[in-house]
């Protein structure tokens, strides 16, 4: 299954609910385009909900890092929400958990953005 997403707004935060696989090819491109699109619409505070993402490869990890950098370069913040155990483990062994602000609760995640 490739990646799909929906976008919603909660208290000034753009939440992307992602599902499927963020992998080389279609999945990574979908994520890249989704983040590019919300940035183009002026979003600054972006929360990626990864609850339904069950598989990420190194290309997908690279795309998450690129998204983080793109948002930061535009003066915004990108945070991650609801990691599955597999994705959490992947971020841990690659030390990317030291890069991302990772949240377990949507309400507190939304409240944590700088306004």
């Amino acid at each position: 299954m490739s990646m799909k997403f929906t976008t919603r707004q909660v208290d000034g935060v753009t939440i992307l609910d992602l599902s499927g696989r963020i992998t080389l090819g279609e999945g990574s491109v979908t994520l890249r385009d989704a983040v590019k699109d919300v940035l183009a619409k002026g979003a600054k505070n972006i929360l990626l909900n990864l609850a339904d993402v069950d598989y990420i490869d190194s290309s997908g990890l690279g795309e998450l890092v690129s998204a983080y950098t793109s948002v930061k370069n535009q003066g915004g913040e990108l945070k991650l929400l609801h990691l599955t155990t597999k994705v959490h483990d992947l971020l841990q062994i690659t030390k990317l958990y030291t890069v991302f602000d990772i949240k377990d609760d949507e309400t507190s995640a939304v409240g944590s953005f700088t306004r």
């Binding site: 992998t23 080389l24 490869d57 190194s58 950098t69 992947l90 690659t94 890069v99």
Partner: protein
Amino acid sequence: MAEGTTSRASLTLESTIASVKAVEETAQEYARSAGFSDDIAAHLCMVAGEAAANAVIHGNKYDPAKRITATFEITESALTIKIADQGEGLDPETIPDPLAPENLLRSSGRGVFLMRAFMDEVHFRGLDPGTEISLIKHRTQPA
């Protein structure tokens, strides 16, 4: 087949992303045949895909005249996946450490690290031309 081999397959594939998916699917099938858990099978599938992606992208550079080969072998002791390209060759010593602070924000360069993290053995062998990478996962011996 090597002595003790119970199952073996060899694929010769074009230098395309579709070939990466074919390698992942075969890795998944062999991981299950070898009796690995779902979690380990997922890791095997991922690292086989990483190796195939490296072969297609960095090794063969999508050259339609070049092929990648993937072999899968189950023996009593291990599942071995070998991925070979026809590129210019790779010195594994030159691969930057993706955990180094200066590399953490790089958007690529984690594939070989993940192979080493999830496999019991990872070996590189120079070919003429190209590189072969062997990914070995030991099977738990029955009590």
